[in-house]
């Protein structure tokens, strides 16, 4: 095996975090990191370990089909309430999105705790404010979100192309809001 490919392999292997190409370069020295990654990805194809890219960062992980052997408990790593799951999906498919927009899609107010849970999990972050009335705070997903859910990028979100084509990810235009104003009913904070 090429010395540089060995160095790239060792670097990614030793890291406790997924690494960008620049970070890998910083450790493994001069060489074509992308070519080395391609070589490694091929070597690891069909093995118990695979090399994956998530949002521009690379790491090794076990092959998904071996999950049944390695799963130590039947417990989910983090159980999400329905409200949190829907909120996460809305943020992921619509980002950047304001709290009011999340509430408009869900038809209920979201409790303070719901976004906190997602932010604490490291999957959602604040993403500045939207210029406009009220300058609402915006939310978006994180690098860790892509890593955790095994997404190369947001393009890999399940069914995102179909949803986009069906117009279901378009911003809710103001006209619709007004026409359906009465649908936006103030409800008490949902139960988590």
């Amino acid at each position: 095996m090429d010395e540089f490919v060995r160095a790239v392999e060792a670097t990614i292997f030793a890291s406790s975090e997924p690494l960008t190409i620049e970070e890998i370069q910083g450790y493994s020295g001069d060489g074509d990191v992308e070519a080395a990654l391609a070589t490694l990805a091929e070597i690891y194809t069909g093995r118990g370990i695979e090399l994956v890219e998530r949002g521009g960062r690379w790491h090794f992980q076990t092959a998904p089909d071996l999950a049944h052997l390695l799963r130590r408990t039947r417990e989910e790593p983090r159980r999400l309430s329905r409200a949190a799951t829907e909120t996460l999906a809305i943020v992921a498919y619509h980002e950047p999105v304001s709290r009011a927009e999340i509430e408009a899609i869900r038809g209920v107010q979201i409790s303070k705790g719901t976004l906190d849970v997602l932010m604490e999990a490291g999957w959602v972050r604040t993403a500045g404010r939207r210029e406009g009335p009220g300058r609402p705070l915006l939310y978006a997903t994180t690098q860790e979100f892509l890593t955790h859910f095994g997404l190369g990028s947001r393009k890999d979100l399940p069914g995102i192309d179909d949803l986009k084509a069906a117009g279901l990810l378009d911003p809710l235009d103001q006209g619709v809001f007004e026409a359906l104003e009465q649908l936006q009913l103030e409800s008490e904070e949902e139960d988590d």
Binding site: S15, A67, T85, G159
Partner: protein
């Protein structure tokens, strides 16, 4: 929302309903729409309105306390239904059909996100389906300081040291002053010759040096106080800031 959890069957749909389980009217509406067992794009809005109002009515029949927002939705849907059934009013904007379409879009959106959430959670997730390395050595970043200083700073630092440690020479300029002793002697002599009250200014020596005159005035004043204390002269001042006058005791 103050609604007791209660399961009951809604009509022929055999849908188990639990009011506490709904996250608001839209959520309830979506679940009722799904009970039509057709593609959401094919649902009948009129049928949906009936389902919703039936549901609310049966919940009321059971004397359930129903949150206001569910009732508002029921009223709004009833209004929408009547608009849909009435002869078309071409002036109405948006048309009831358009509002119905928008309502359908909202249900589709919520449904899409609900499904997307489920699909996300079902992916191969780290810590559940796939695992990262359990024992990473970790990468270490050793920080090294690259010290920065230029020649000017170096030389000026040496200059600063040299300047700071040069033997210091303190030069005290001569200042023309009248000492207190001189003033006591002078005032003492002059008071002996005076008969009547004199202003203290008259005791001062002639001088062009304003600094010396100020010093002489201050010293002479203190001298006058001292001589008064010894009982050799009297002091008088008619009012505050008036001239100070002295006379032999």
């Amino acid at each position: 929302m103050g609604v007791d959890a209660l399961d009951f069957s809604a009509g022929s749909e055999e849908l188990t309903l639990n009011l506490d389980g709904w996250e608001g009217p839209l959520d309830l509406l979506l679940n009722l729409a799904r009970a039509q067992k057709v593609d959401l794009t094919q649902i009948s809005i009129l049928q949906l309105v009936d389902q919703y109002t039936d549901y609310i009515a049966s919940a009321r029949a059971l004397k359930l306390e129903i949150a206001a927002d569910y009732l508002v939705m029921a009223a709004w849907l009833a209004y929408l239904k009547s608009c849909l059934l009435l002869p078309k009013d071409p002036e109405q904007d948006p048309s009831p059909e358009e509002v119905a379409l928008r309502l359908q879009m909202r249900l589709l959106r919520l449904d899409a996100m609900r499904e997307a959430g489920a699909r996300l959670l079902g992916r191969d997730r780290i810590g559940r389906d796939v695992f990262v390395r359990g024992l990473p050595e970790g990468l270490r970043l050793v920080r090294k300081s690259a010290w920065q200083v230029n020649s000017f700073e170096l030389f000026s630092a040496y200059g600063a040291v040299k300047a700071r440690t040069q033997p210091a020479m303190h030069v005290v300029h001569m200042r023309s002053v009248m000492t207190l002793d001189d003033a006591i002697e002078r005032v003492g002599k002059m008071i002996g010759m005076a008969i009547d009250w004199m202003e203290i200014g008259q005791f001062l020596p002639d001088s062009d040096d304003p600094a010396f005159r100020r010093s002489a005035l201050a010293s002479s004043f203190v001298a006058a106080l001292e001589l008064a204390r010894r009982g050799r002269l009297d002091l008088r001042q008619d009012e505050p800031f008036a001239p100070l006058q002295v006379r032999a005791a």
